[in-house]
């Protein structure tokens, strides 16, 4: 615990020093993604009631809010994973580089290759080795990369897992610890070189040390990828995100720079939530 706190603190420090000069507080002029009047249903229940929200390029956007507020549904709409569940429907637009991913001629499979996803529970493929797991996205898409060894090493280095697993690459992916499995899953997504990475409470099944590592990782990935992270943990949002959106009962209550949301939110509800008065 103490160690994890220390870790968290050091990562905080490095982040602050890295962030201030590199990142202008003003948003880039064109967002990487943008939800427009996005509505989502499960059967007759409306889970998202018209969300309009930008996702800025190469930044981390956190979605916070109490359970059942639609935050997971929201990011599942960003790569068309919501409609996988039977009875689920989506209305409205989601723009990816100005193109609507819900346009009738868009193949959801293509969208998911550009917008990767990391899930709440680590889910490496149990029948595959660690190496195969990293390559799974490419292999299952029928791609035959040339330098697989190099690719595996690069992906695993990116998630800081290489040194831990380089000697056991042919072991099953499920033989790793929970935190390692989650980083393996992130590596699996990164191997496809997505443009956007969606993370659905990626740390909720992890212990504090593993959580700190994943947060560290998010901080590094932010240089190259656009990241949207759903989290229950407000400290986490404050630590990793550039922008934060607060969802409540399927509606977007407030969206702003993270420091604004956490220090001077303009909505009463946001303030109540982040100060722990409800939720």
């Amino acid at each position: 615990m103490i160690q994890s706190l220390a870790l968290a603190r050091t990562s905080e420090a490095t982040r602050e020093s890295a962030r201030t000069p590199a990142r202008p507080s003003a948003a880039p002029d064109r967002p990487k993604m943008r939800a427009e009047a996005l509505r989502a249903h499960f059967g007759k229940t409306e889970v998202l009631k018209g969300i309009t929200l930008p996702v800025e390029s190469t930044t981390v956007t956190a979605i916070i809010g109490p359970s059942g507020c639609g935050k997971s549904t929201f990011i599942r709409c960003l790569n068309r994973m919501h409609e996988v569940v039977s009875g689920a429907r989506v209305a409205g637009k989601v723009l990816l580089d100005l193109q609507d991913i819900y346009a009738p001629d868009v193949d959801p499979v293509r969208v998911r290759r550009r917008v990767g996803m990391v899930f709440q529970k680590p889910n490496p493929f149990p029948t595959m080795t660690i190496r195969e797991n990293v390559l799974a996205g490419l292999k299952l898409n029928g791609l035959r990369p040339k330098d697989t060894e190099e690719l595996v090493e690069r992906a695993l280095r990116q998630v800081a897992l290489w040194d831990e697993v380089k000697d056991v690459l042919s072991r099953s992916g499920t033989s790793l610890s929970g935190g390692q499995q989650q980083r393996l899953c992130i590596a699996r997504s990164l191997a496809l070189e997505p443009e956007v990475l969606l993370m659905d409470e990626p740390c909720s099944a992890l212990d504090p040390i593993a959580t700190a590592r994943v947060e560290e990782l998010i901080h590094e990935l932010r240089e190259r990828y656009t990241i949207v992270i759903v989290t229950h943990n407000m400290q986490q949002a404050a630590r990793v995100a550039d922008f934060t959106a607060f969802f409540y009962l399927g509606e977007l209550v407030e969206y702003d720079r993270t420091d604004v949301i956490f220090t001077r939110p303009s909505e009463k509800k946001t303030e109540d939530y982040i100060t722990g008065r409800f939720g």
Binding site: P124, T127, A136, L140
Partner: protein, 281 residues
């Protein structure tokens, strides 16, 4: 406090004892069958039994090599006809079957697994034997396949349902098309279990007599083609057992022993396969 504890221990011991007793009672018939068949049949097993054709009545010696071969042939055909549609139907039910049609398929499979095997024999008789005007290995294979179908379908469906949803999502989230995710992730994860289910289904139909009486019938000679009547161990056992000759009775016991041996080997192989797969993880 102490009294209650000792009382609880007593009850625990009593219930455990009952369970043990019940298990024993369930195992007794199996043990008796194995013992009886072995003691009666072992005497009839010799090299000739596995290599020679049956001799005509009154002549000593001979074997059941044609029936052994015939059983393998019939089971092989049954696998060919029964496993692919069974597995595919199971995949449909588990992965794509959210419609009313799927409910119908599921219900039919359940009904089909309850249909008496002789009925299936008659069905295939009218469907194939009457049309081709000949008993044949084909017809026998189809009858056994129809018998296997519901088991294979339902086992496949059940085992696919055990594959966690998170793995499907993982694959889809990587931009893998659904068919590919089903094939390379879901089916592959459930494969050892499905293989076991299939092996058990094979073991089950390998011993069927009734559906073969009307389809593959019997044959005293080597199988020469798939369109010919074909001998099989169960039918041969039946024929020999109802005959009035003592040496045929002896042969029937021996054949029964061989059949049990085959089924046992299949069962054990299925289990070893699963254990091996689990351990290698």
């Amino acid at each position: 406090m102490k009294e209650r504890y000792s009382q609880r221990k007593l009850v625990d011991a009593a219930v455990r004892g009952l369970c043990l007793l019940a298990t024993g009672a369930a195992l007794i018939p199996l043990g008796l069958v194995l013992y009886y068949v072995t003691s009666r049949g072992i005497g009839g097993l010799d090299w000739a039994f596995f290599t020679e054709l049956p001799k005509p009545v009154g002549e000593a010696g001979g074997g059941m090599a044609n029936a052994l071969l015939g059983t393998l042939e019939l089971v092989g055909l049954a696998c060919l006809f029964g496993i692919p549609p069974g597995v595919l139907a199971g995949v449909y039910l588990a992965e794509f079957g959210q419609h009313r049609f799927a409910k119908l398929v599921r219900f039919s499979a359940d009904v089909m697994s309850g249909v008496p095997s002789i009925t299936i024999g008659i069905f295939v008789y009218t469907l194939i034997v009457l049309r081709t005007k000949s008993f044949s290995a084909y017809a026998g294979g189809v009858a056994l396949a129809v018998l296997m179908l519901p088991t294979v379908t339902r086992t496949t469906e059940e085992l696919l349902r055990l594959v966690p949803e998170s793995l499907r999502e993982a694959a889809l989230g990587l931009g893998v098309p659904k068919w590919r995710a089903t094939l390379s992730v879901v089916l592959r994860t459930a494969a050892p279990g499905i293989a076991t289910g299939i092996m058990l289904a094979i073991a089950r139909v390998a011993g069927e007599t009734a559906p073969l009486l009307f389809t593959a019938f019997n044959n005293a000679f080597w199988p020469t083609g798939l369109a010919q009547p074909t001998a099989s161990l169960p039918v041969q056992i039946y024929t020999y057992a109802v005959s009035p000759y003592d040496d045929w009775h002896q042969k029937a016991w021996a054949a029964a022993l061989v059949l049990i041996g085959m089924v046992l080997i299949l069962n054990v192989a299925a289990r070893v396969l699963v254990r091996h797969r689990v351990r290698s993880r």
